[in-house]
Symmetry: C2
Subunit: 442 residues, 2 copies
């Protein structure tokens, strides 16, 4: 069997382009409308995509004046998507910095039951000060957030393992519902958490929901190499993509993991037209709807430098890379500006499409060429697809790029697997508490 | 218009009777099966019931050996019920002791959006030590839990109010999505919480999801009188029901609230047969499936006294009423045993049906008589219906008791309202941050 690529549809309001809501092809009134997201999930499933994914942040941060925000909490929304789909994976972002592991373990276990084994957790540590202010604490330092995340994950996976697969007997005659020898307290005591367990939700179809991670800092990469099964990443050039891919895969061995136990999925925002001219025209339309004040505020936040209209036609001022916030994204943006000698205005335009993710404009064949190039040259196991407009950008991807990838033998024609783990080619982990501990195929 | 009663279907696994899972008419394999709960919600909606309700606890507590537990987290599950229903209210239990107000506000706001204004929150403070052990703290004292709950609720309602109703402009031409003068930081600083806000989910159809409460201790009643819009309660006799009802309604004035701004909904487990003999036979069948060891463990937990098989045929030993746990339920159980001079075995049988809630056995007419008696005599504004077996006990209630209540003019024939607040006859609260603050009908 030839190696197939994996495709995840990153769902973001009415589109990933920051001006999507102003474009006549979007409906900004649908930001909090569950039917909009259900339609997106069905379109992605029609294309046999591996999964849909919802990002998240825990603060509004004043961006709402010029962007369509204020939508639905991802894990709540994913349940609503689970009920109208059959096969597609469902990945939600949840922070380890402002949550309790018992709740997170239980909610993802519930989603995994409800979806029949399609749940995935994108683990984030919440970089912004605005988020900390909604939870009454000072934002913890970068390293401290990752240390907490590691212990958090340890507790969550223990809780997921706390019921062995065959714990439920449901023996009516004997009156024994469960073999309590196969339901284990976890008795976790660590620096950040003390959790007795067991979980009060039974072992799920996937055993453990899929673990996804997206931080690309040094701490982030080490965390991913140790724990994650899929990584979302922003990479601007093939060379950067290759270096990141090789770096991450190289780190796996230290944790006794194989090369194929973690998938690297770079983000890409495809601006698609039936001709290159049509695609360029759509790109221009979106570009013209950009509100500089909005982009300046985002870039000021990201760089830690107060940028105003006066900076627009000059180069990006010097920016320190070290930060307690979104460190790797800051580095990417500064390098992009330097490498291509962009003015601030040009940089804003480059960031408007994908917030630092790669934007590719062209025909379905040209988009497929780009995906194939990265996939064949050691930069990707698949992609996190970020349509500029939703639903139209996802529809055109599913209806025109996906068939092109299939014609090239790069993507499945239909689902031949049932769980998210199985779509991604990953095993079902055994419970650490079970006597028999080999992974089993699902 | 004559006063109508309100009916809430309390959904609990495969039935409220503790031996339900052993009865041939239940399917214990469906404890974590979303379709089971979706079917229950649809049955309740077929009867035009006001709402469905899911209880919750945050620990397994070793009950699973003899009972079908380990199901789904309520708020996650309710979203799945929202997507297959149109009108019925959806109430989930969430603890204020082991959560953060920002998350709780956002999740209920999301459910309210997804359901089109049908979300309700049953506020609990989590009485057990087993729950505390899953969150790494000592169980806070009763009064401390209620103090936290009051501040928690204050923060949550501020967050729900933080977007005024008309904050979203979605003005594409001007590039203004929201009028940020109408989106307010809440800047809450209190003893337990410091939360800046605003919420990152927009104002919801109900403005604020419905607030429900179920504690019947002194602290619980005072909390309910101040904050709750519906109260679930366990009352064994008409006189107790009347006293509780009058007491709670009397307390409202101190908070400037009217008599009809809080509904009192006692729990009742109806064991229904087409003849009284048939109903009694079902009651006996369930009774014979009781496992004394299970009931003894629950009763030991509730009373704080270690009860064994040796106690079964004697009276309940002396039990202190003051406790940091489930105080009002302990009082109810001790009084029941004393009043009716029950042996421990008889008490277990009385508790098996509804854990202290009233069990009524009879024909649909007899059940309706009981509901009518309490409704007409100042003990109830409606009822929390707890079928012994699910789905069969809910089906027979909807198909036989509900028509009887309709024939008597006591219950709606169909929904003439769209939101949970409107079903309950409650107003839609204005945002406290809006210039115009009158409640509006929904």
């Amino acid at each position: 069997m030839t190696r197939k690529l994996h495709l995840n549809a990153f769902l973001m309001g009415v589109g990933h382009h920051e001006a999507a809501w102003r474009h006549p092809r979007s409906e900004p009134g649908k930001i909090a409308d569950v039917r909009h997201y259900q339609e997106l999930a069905k379109i992605a499933e029609r294309g046999a995509l591996d999964s849909v994914f919802l990002a998240d942040g825990l603060a509004l941060r004043g961006k709402v004046r010029h962007n369509a925000l204020g939508g639905l909490e991802p894990l709540t929304l994913l349940t609503a998507l689970a009920t109208v789909t059959e096969r597609i994976g469902l990945i939600a972002t949840v922070s380890t910095t402002y949550n309790e592991p018992f709740h997170v373990a239980r909610k993802f276990a519930s989603l995994d039951h409800i979806s029949g084994g399609r749940a995935g957790w994108n683990i984030v540590t919440s970089a912004s000060e605005a988020e900390a202010a909604n939870f009454g604490i000072e934002r913890p330092a970068h390293a401290a957030r990752y240390a907490r995340a590691a212990e958090f994950l340890d507790v969550v996976t223990k809780l997921w393992d706390s019921w062995e697969d065959d714990a439920i007997l449901a023996d009516r005659a004997a009156g024994t519902y469960a073999d309590t020898d196969k339901i284990h307290p976890i008795d976790h005591t660590g620096e950040h958490f003390s959790v007795k367990g067991p979980l009060n939700t039974s072992r799920t179809p996937q055993g453990r929901p899929l673990l996804v991670q997206a931080g690309s800092s040094e701490d982030g990469k080490e965390f991913a190499a140790r724990h994650a099964e899929a990584v979302f990443t922003a990479q601007q050039t093939l060379q950067d993509g290759q270096e990141f891919y090789a770096d991450l895969k190289r780190r796996l061995a230290a944790y006794g993991r194989r090369h194929d136990e973690l998938l690297v999925l770079p983000g890409i925002s495809p601006i698609i037209g039936s001709t290159e001219e049509e695609a360029r025209a759509l790109e221009r339309e979106l570009d013209e709807l950009i509100i500089p004040a909005y982009g300046l505020a985002q870039l000021s936040y990201l760089t830690g430098i107060e940028l105003t209209e006066e900076h627009l036609d000059g180069p990006l001022p010097d920016v320190p890379i070290e930060t307690e916030g979104a460190q790797s994204r800051r580095k990417l943006v500064v390098e992009l500006a330097r490498r291509e000698r962009l003015t601030v205005r040009q940089l804003l335009s480059r960031l408007a499409g994908g917030r630092g993710h790669r934007v590719v404009t062209g025909t379905p064949e040209q988009i497929a060429d780009q995906l194939q190039e990265w996939f064949f040259n050691g930069a990707a196991d698949g992609f996190n697809i970020m349509p500029p407009l939703l639903p139209s950008g996802l529809e055109v991807f599913v209806d025109h790029v996906v068939p092109e990838l299939r014609a090239r033998g790069l993507f499945r024609h239909e689902y031949d697997t049932r769980t998210l783990r199985a779509h991604y080619g990953l095993p079902r982990p055994p419970s650490r508490y079970a006597a028999r501990r080999e992974p089993v195929a699902v």
